[in-house]
Amino acid sequence: MLSYAIKRLIGAVPTLLLIVAITFFMVHLAPGGPFDKERKLSAEVEANLRKAYHLDEPILQQFGRYVGNLLEGDFGPSFQYKDYSVTELIVGGFPTSLTLGAIAMTAAIVIGMGAGMISALRQNSLLDHALMGGAVLGVAIPNFVVAPLLTLVIGLQLRLLPVGGWGDGFSLRHAILPATALALPQIAAIARLMRGSMLEVLRTNYIRTARAKGLPERVTLLRHGVKAALPPIVSYLGPAIANIITGSIVIEQIFGIPGIGRYFVQAALNRDYTLVMGVVVFYGALIILLNLLADLAYGLLDPQVRYD
C-alpha cells in the first residue's frame, strides 16, 4: 500500500507540471491582458508595468521564470490585488474554503448516508419516494438558485440566520446557509448511491445469515450492511470533493465568503496570470492528493482490492 501511495505521489509531479504548462500558455494566449482597463493606459505607463512584471520577456522565458519560482514556493505577486502576493491570498483564503467545504462534505456524508439508508430500509414506502424525490430536486436545481432562495427565506424573511459574510473568524451562524447550499447536491447524490448500494447489500447471503443468527438489526445494519455498502460512496468522494470545490466558486460569491473559490473565475476574467496559476496549481495538487486518499480508503475498505 505504501509503495503504491509513493508511486502515485511521484507520478503526480509530471501531472502537475503538465497542468501548470497548459494553464500558463492558455492564460497568456487569451486576448486581453491584466493592464487593459476602460481608461486606456498611456504607452509609457503600460511599458513600465509590463517591465515590472516581466511581461516584456519572450513567453518561454516567462514560463521558465515562473516554474523556477514555483519550485522555490514563490507563486508571485497578484497582478490585480497589488497589495498581496498570491501565496498570501491562497494561504489566507484556503482555511475558510476548507472549513466550508469540510462542513458541507460532512453534512453530505452523514445526511446523505442516513437518508439513503432509511430509503433502502423502507423501500417503496412514501418516505422512500419523498426522500428520493427530494434527492432528484437536489441534484437538478443549481446551487445559484438554491442559495438566493435560502438567503431570501431564512435570512431575510425569517431573520433566522445572517444573509452574508463570514463573521469575525469562524462563526457557525454564518456557515450554515452556505454549507447547506453547497451540500445539497452532494446529499442528494450520496443518498441515491447509498440507497442503491444498501438495497444490493440487504439482499446478500451474509446479511440473511446475520439476521438468521439472531443479531440485533442495528448491529446487522450498521456493522455489516453499511460497511459493505460503502465502496460506491467512497469512489464518489473524489468527484464529490471536486464538485464542492467548483460549487464554492458561486457560493462564496453569493454569500460573500473570504475563500479562494472566487479567485478561480475572477482571476481568469481579470487576466491576473499569477493568481490564476496559483489557484490552479493549488487545487490541482489538492485534488490529486484527495483522489489518492479516496483510492487508499477504498483499498482499506474492500479487502479484495489490492494495490501492488
Binding site: 509609457e44 505607463v45 490585480q80 483564503g93 438567503t151 444573509v163 460569491q253 460573500g256 472566487r262 481579470n270
Partner: protein, 531 residues
C-alpha cells in the same frame, strides 16, 4: 450563606459592570458599507477604481479635499495663492495637520508623494492626469530621470509650490483625486509593498487602517490625530466586498449593511414603490454611448449616415423601458451638473420623434441604403445582460431605417483589446469622469490621444479649441471655449450618446450627513448614524 453587606457590594458591582458594559457598547458608532469588489490596493498612487477611492478618501487627505456636497475645501492646505498668469499655485499647510502616528504633515511629504506618483518605478495608472504639472509627462515617459525636476517644490516645511505648464483652472479639483494624496515616506520606504498592511500603514485622513482580511472586510477606525477629529462622529467604518448586487440588497434589507454600493437595476421599480426613502437615485458624472470607428470608410467618410444612426435611437424608450433605473437620456457628451458649464446638445434634441425618423430615413436613402438594401454594420459590446438588451433594442430601432446591425459580444478583456485595436464598426462604451471638469471628457478625443481616442476622431478645429482653452486663465471664458469644442464634436457625430449615468445606493434611515454630489463621493468624515 453570605453576609448581607457582601451581597449588597457584589450586587452593586454587578450593576456597575453591566452599566459600564452597555455604556461602552452603545458608545461605538460603526458604519457598515457595501463596497463592491475587493479593493485591489489601498495605495492611493496605484489604485484605479471607485471601490478603492471610497476607502482612500477616508484614510488620506490631500492639499485640497471635498466637502460633503462635493465642493472643494481646504484639506491639508489651509489656503492658497494663485499667480496672475495662473501657472504657479502656492499652498500654505495648516499647522495642526498630523499623520496617524502623531508626526506633523509637512511640505516634504507632498514633494515625496508627487514624485512617487510620477516615478515610472511606481507604474501608476493615473499618473498621467498630473500632466499639467511641469515635467510630469517627461518623467512618466522616462525622458527625465531626475525626479526633482517635477514642478512641485517645498520652500519651507509649511509651503508647497506647484508649477504648471499652463493655466489649469481645474487643478484644485484634480488635487482631490487619490493620485495627489500624500503617503508617509518613512513607512513606504521601510515596508515596501507591505506598507498598506494594518499595523504598518500610517495615514493622514479622518480614519486609519485597523484590519484587512481580503474578501472579508476592511476596517478603519477614527484617527485621533486628524486635524478635524473633534467633528468626526463615526468610530469605525467596515467596508464589505459585495460583488453580488442582488445579495448586497438582501444583506441591506436584513440590516447587515447601512449603505450599499449599487442596486440591481431590475429591482429599481420595486424599490421606488416600497422603499422610496432609503433608495437614492441621483445623477452621476458619466455617459453611456456608442462610439463610431472613423478609420473605417463606410461610416468614417459618411457623416450623414452617422447622423441618421444618432437620429434613429429613441433614448427615452431605452431609459424608460429597458434600463429603468432613472438614467437620463443623453444628447450630449459631457454629462450635466458640472458647475459653471453650459450643456451642449445634439441639434435634433428639440425635434419630434416622428420627424427625426423621417430625416433619418431620408439621409440613409440619399446614401443609397434602405430596408431593401440595408447598411450592414457590426456592434461590439462587452458581455452583459443590460448591454445586450440595449443593443437588441437599438438594432430593432435601426432596422426599419435600413440598417442591418450584427451584434458581437466579447468578454470584457477581449472587448477592450478589440476596441483598442479599432477592430469594430460601432462599439458600446462608457466614460465616468475622474473630476468634475469637461476637459476630462473632451481630451479623450484629441487627435493625438492615441488609443484613448476610440473613434480616431481628428478635427483640427476641435484640437485648436482645446489648446486655446488650456492656456485661458479666466475660468468662465475657458468653459465657454470648451463648450464650443463640444458642440463641434457633437455635430461631427463621432459618437452617439445614449444616456447619462445615475448612481444608486440604499441608505439606512439612520444615516446622517449624506449629501448629493455629482462625483458620488461621500467621505465617512461627514457621516454619522442616529441611534
Amino acid at each position: 450563606m453570605m453576609h448581607r453587606r457582601t451581597t449588597l457590594k457584589l450586587a452593586a458591582l454587578a450593576v456597575a459592570a453591566l452599566l459600564a458594559g452597555t455604556a461602552v457598547a452603545q458608545a461605538e458608532m460603526v458604519l457598515r458599507r457595501g463596497n463592491g469588489a475587493e479593493p485591489e490596493t489601498i495605495d492611493p498612487h496605484k489604485s484605479t477604481g471607485v471601490t478603492e477611492n471610497v476607502i482612500e478618501n477616508d484614510l488620506f487627505e490631500g492639499l485640497v479635499t471635498l466637502a460633503a456636497d462635493g465642493k472643494q475645501i481646504p484639506g491639508v492646505a489651509k489656503s492658497w495663492d494663485i499667480s496672475d498668469d495662473g501657472t504657479v499655485y502656492t499652498f500654505h499647510l495648516r499647522d495642526d495637520a498630523k499623520w496617524s502616528n502623531g508626526e506633523p504633515v509637512t511640505s516634504a511629504d507632498f514633494v515625496y508623494s508627487f514624485r512617487r506618483a510620477v516615478d515610472p518605478k511606481t507604474a501608476s495608472d493615473y499618473a498621467p492626469i498630473l500632466s499639467p504639472i511641469k515635467n510630469a509627462d517627461d518623467i512618466i515617459a522616462g525622458k527625465i530621470t531626475d525626479l526633482s525636476q517635477l514642478g512641485v517644490a517645498a520652500p519651507d516645511a509649511k509651503t508647497v509650490v506647484i508649477s504648471l505648464n499652463a493655466p489649469t483652472p481645474y487643478l484644485l479639483g484634480l488635487l482631490t483625486h487619490n493620485i495627489a494624496m500624500p503617503v508617509h515616506q518613512a513607512t513606504v520606504e521601510k515596508f515596501g509593498d507591505q506598507w498598506t498592511r494594518p499595523g504598518n500603514m500610517v495615514s493622514n485622513g479622518a480614519f486609519m487602517l485597523s484590519d484587512w482580511v481580503p474578501q472579508s472586510q476592511l476596517t478603519v477606525v477614527k484617527n485621533p490625530n486628524f486635524h478635524d477629529a473633534a467633528n468626526v462622529k463615526l468610530d469605525k467604518i467596515v467596508y464589505y466586498p459585495t460583488e453580488d448586487i442582488a445579495e448586497e440588497l438582501k444583506r441591506y434589507r436584513a440590516g447587515e449593511l447601512d449603505i450599499t454600493y449599487e442596486v440591481p437595476s431590475d429591482q429599481v421599480k420595486w424599490l421606488e414603490a416600497n422603499m422610496k426613502d432609503e433608495f437614492q437615485n441621483k445623477p452621476y458624472l458619466g455617459t453611456y454611448y456608442y462610439v463610431i470607428n472613423l478609420t473605417r470608410d463606410t461610416l468614417g467618410k459618411a457623416k450623414e449616415i452617422r447622423k441618421a444612426l444618432a437620429l434613429g435611437v429613441d433614448r427615452e424608450i431605452l431609459t424608460d423601458k429597458i434600463t429603468q433605473a432613472g438614467e437620463i437620456p443623453a444628447y450630449s457628451w459631457v454629462p450635466p451638473n458640472i458647475p459653471g458649464y453650459e450643456q451642449q446638445f445634439l441639434d435634433f434634441k428639440s425635434e419630434a420623434k416622428a420627424q427625426r425618423l423621417v430625416e433619418a430615413k431620408k439621409l440613409l436613402a440619399d446614401a443609397g441604403y434602405g430596408p431593401d438594401h440595408p447598411l450592414k454594420i457590426q456592434l461590439l459590446y462587452n458581455t452583459s445582460e443590460n448591454h445586450k438588451k440595449i443593443a437588441v433594442a437599438i438594432a430593432s430601432m435601426w432596422k426599419p431605417l435600413g440598417v442591418d446591425l450584427e451584434l458581437v459580444n466579447q468578454e470584457w478583456k477581449v472587448y477592450l483589446e478589440t476596441r483598442d485595436k479599432k477592430d469594430f464598426d460601432v462599439a458600446r462604451a462608457a466614460w465616468i469622469g475622474d473630476y468634475a471638469d469637461p476637459i476630462n471628457f473632451l481630451d479623450m478625443f484629441k487627435s493625438d490621444a492615441g488609443e484613448r481616442n476610440d473613434a480616431g476622431y481628428n478635427n483640427p478645429k476641435f484640437d485648436q479649441l482645446l489648446t486655446t482653452a488650456a492656456s485661458t486663465v479666466d475660468p468662465k471664458k475657458r468653459l465657454e471655449i470648451l463648450a464650443q469644442a463640444e458642440k463641434i464634436f457633437l455635430d461631427d457625430y463621432a459618437m452617439i450618446p445614449i444616456y447619462h449615468y445615475v448612481s444608486h445606493h440604499m441608505l439606512s434611515p439612520k444615516l446622517v450627513g449624506w449629501e448629493f454630489n455629482i462625483l458620488d463621493i461621500h467621505p465617512g468624515r461627514f457621516l454619522s448614524l442616529k441611534s
